[in-house]
Symmetry: C2
Subunit: 340 residues, 2 copies
C-alpha cells in the first residue's frame, strides 16, 4: 500500500493521471467508478498511473457534483457511559466502509443545543442523522427537524413517532420483576432512573405492571441518576425501610451502589434482600454477589439503527415502526427465593 500525504503541496489531480496514462480525465473517472465500458488494458494503464502518482480522488469535488457525501452524523449526549458508547461503536462498525460517521455531543439536552447540532450536521451535508437520545426533551425536539432529513432515534423508548430502534424496556422490567415475585417475594421495590429518561419511564412502567398483574402491593419508586453514587444513597434510604426483600434497579451501576449500601449495614444479598439490575454491563458478572440482570445488546441496537437509517436514505422510505429488541434476563446469584 502506498500512502501519500494529505497534500498541502498540490496533490495530483485526475487530469495528471489522465496525462500520464495517455487518456482523457473522463476515462480515469470511469475506471474509478467502475464503469463497465473500459478496455481492460486501458483500465490497467490508468490504475498504474494512479498508483504511480499516489492519486486520491478529491471528495469535495466529487460530492459537489454527486450531491452525496457518505457522511452520517451521530448525536449523543454522553458517550462515556457504557450504553451510548456501545451503540456508537455498533453504528460505526455497521457504517464502515460505506459511510463515515461524524459524532457530536451537545453540552445540554435543551432544544437549542440539539437543533444547533442538527444544523451543524446539515451544514456539513451529512446524508442522515442518528440520535442517541434517551431523554424525553431531546426526543421531543426532534419532531421540529424537517421531515426530509433522514433521521433515526435509538434507545429512545418505543413510544415515539420518530423512526426509531429501541429495546423493549417494559418487557425487560416486567420479566425482572416477575422473576422476583415468582421467587416468593411479596413485592418488589424499584430504584428508577431519572424521570426525564424514556428508558427509566418504561422500565418503571414494566415494574409497576408486573406488580399489578401479580396483585402485589404497589410502591413508590425511588429515583436515582443512573450513577453508582445515587444507587448508594437510595440504598441507604431503602435499608431503613422495614420489610424490603427484593429490589429491581433500573441499571447495573445503581445496583452496584445499592450493593455497597446494603453491605455496609450488614444486609446480605441475596440472603436478606434479592436484587436485580438492568443492562448487563461487562462488570456485573463480577459484582459481589454476581448480579442478576436484564441484558440489552447495545451494539445490536446501534447496528439496527444504522440499517434503518441507510434504508431511509437509499429508498426514501417512510419510517417503518421499529420492532423493539427483546431483552434477556441473565440469572446470577444476586436474587434468590424468599426466606432462603
Amino acid at each position: 500500500m502506498a500512502l501519500t500525504g494529505s497534500g498541502r503541496a498540490s496533490r495530483p489531480t485526475m487530469e495528471d493521471v489522465a496525462r500520464l496514462a495517455g487518456v482523457s480525465h473522463q476515462t480515469v473517472s470511469r475506471v474509478l467508478n467502475e464503469h463497465p465500458n473500459v478496455r481492460p488494458q486501458t483500465r490497467e494503464n490508468v490504475l498504474a498511473s494512479i498508483r504511480a502518482l499516489g492519486y486520491r480522488p478529491n471528495a469535495a469535488a466529487r460530492s459537489l457534483v454527486t450531491k452525496r457525501t457518505n457522511v452520517l452524523g451521530v448525536i449523543s449526549f454522553d458517550t462515556t457511559f457504557y450504553g451510548p458508547a456501545s451503540m456508537l461503536y455498533g453504528i460505526e462498525q455497521a457504517a464502515c466502509p460505506d459511510y463515515f460517521v461524524s459524532v457530536a455531543s451537545p453540552q445540554a439536552v435543551d432544544r437549542r443545543s440539539v437543533l444547533d447540532t442538527v444544523d451543524r450536521f446539515l451544514g456539513q451535508a451529512v446524508e442522515g442523522i442518528i440520535v442517541i437520545a434517551p431523554q424525553v426533551p431531546a426526543v421531543a425536539v426532534l419532531s421540529e427537524v424537517p421531515a426530509d432529513v433522514p433521521l433515526v432515534a435509538v434507545g429512545c423508548g418505543t413510544r415515539t413517532p420518530l423512526a426509531s430502534v429501541a429495546i423493549d424496556n417494559a418487557a425487560g422490567a416486567l420479566a425482572a420483576t416477575r422473576y422476583l415475585l415468582d421467587l416468593g417475594h411479596e413485592t418488589v421495590h424499584h430504584v428508577a432512573g431519572p424521570a426525564s429518561w424514556l428508558d427509566a419511564q418504561e422500565r418503571l412502567d414494566g415494574w409497576s405492571q408486573a406488580l399489578r398483574a401479580a396483585g402485589a402491593p404497589q410502591l413508590e419508586p425511588l429515583h436515582g441518576d443512573w450513577s453508582a453514587r445515587s444507587g448508594y444513597e437510595l440504598g441507604s434510604q431503602l435499608s431503613q425501610l422495614p420489610g424490603v426483600t427484593a429490589v429491581f434497579c433500573a441499571n447495573d451501576q445503581m445496583a452496584l451502589g445499592l450493593l455497597r449500601a446494603l453491605s455496609e449495614r450488614g444486609i446480605r444479598v441475596p440472603e436478606d434482600v434479592s436484587l436485580v439490575g438492568f443492562d448487563d454491563i461487562p462488570e456485573s458478572a463480577f459484582f459481589l454477589p454476581p448480579l442478576t440482570t436484564v441484558r440489552q445488546d447495545f451494539g445490536e441496537l446501534g447496528r439496527r439503527a444504522l440499517r434503518l437509517l441507510v434504508d431511509r436514505i437509499t429508498s426514501h422510505q417512510e419510517p417503518r415502526p421499529g420492532i423493539p429488541v427483546a431483552p434477556e434476563l441473565i440469572v446470577r446469584a444476586s436474587a434468590t427465593r424468599r426466606g432462603r
Copy 2:
C-alpha cells in the same frame, strides 16, 4: 431558528440569495465570511435573504476551493471501554465548534487495518488524525504514515517518537506500589495488562521499579486482558499462592474480578490482602470494599490531544514532546497496613 431540509430538492444557492438581496454572489460570500468591507445595510439585506430562503452554504463547494474541510479523524479500537470512550468524548468536546469529528474503529490492530483506516480518512480529506492507540503494533505502524499528515497519538505511552499525549503510567504505578510498600507489605504482586499494550508495559515498569527501589522481592507479573473476567481468573491463581498480602492491578476492572475471586475463597480485602487498581472508573468507589486506585483523567487527555493536533494543523509545527499528565492516587478502603 429556522431549520431547513437536507435538500434533496434543489437547495437555494448563493446566487439565489444574491438575486433576492439585489447584490452579487460575491457580496453574499463576503457577508458569510465576515469580510470587513461590507456596508452594514447591505449585510442586513443579505442576512435577511439568507434567512428568508433558508440558505445554507455548500460545504463541498467551499472546501473544493479553500482546501479545508474542518473535519478531523479519530481512530480508536474499542470505544466501548471507559478509557477510549472518555478520550473520544474529550476530543469531541474540545473540537466543537471549530471541527467535526469523524470516528473509525478498525476491526483489528494489524498494520493493514490501521493504514486502511488512515487511507479512508485521507480520502475524506480530514485535516488531521488522532489515534487512540494503546497497543504497541498500532503505534509502530503510525510511523509509516507520511509526515505531512498531522497526526497525534493519545494514550500510547510516553516513549513514542510520534506527537503524543499520555499519562505518566510509570509514575502512577510507582506511586501505587510504593503506597502499598509503605503500608508495611513486604512485596507487591502485580496483575498486569496484555503485554502488547504500552500502558500495561509502563505500569509494569513502574511497579517493578518501585520494588527495586525499596529492595523488595521481585516477582513475576500475571498478565490479564483488562477484563474483570481475567482478573477473576488470575485472582483464583493468586489466592493459591502463599504469602500474598498486596496486589497492584493494572486496571480497575481486573481489580473487581480479583475482589470476587478472593472473596469466594474467604480471603478478605483489605484485612488479608490489600489491593490497588488503576484508572478510577466511576464505579470503583462503590466496589466492596471501595477501591484505592490511580486516577487518570481521560477527558483531559483527549482535550490535550485535540489541542496538540490543532496546533500542528494551524502552525505546521513539528511535534513538541508531549508532557505526560500526572496521575493521582485515590486512597479508599481496599488497602491497609500490613497485618491490621
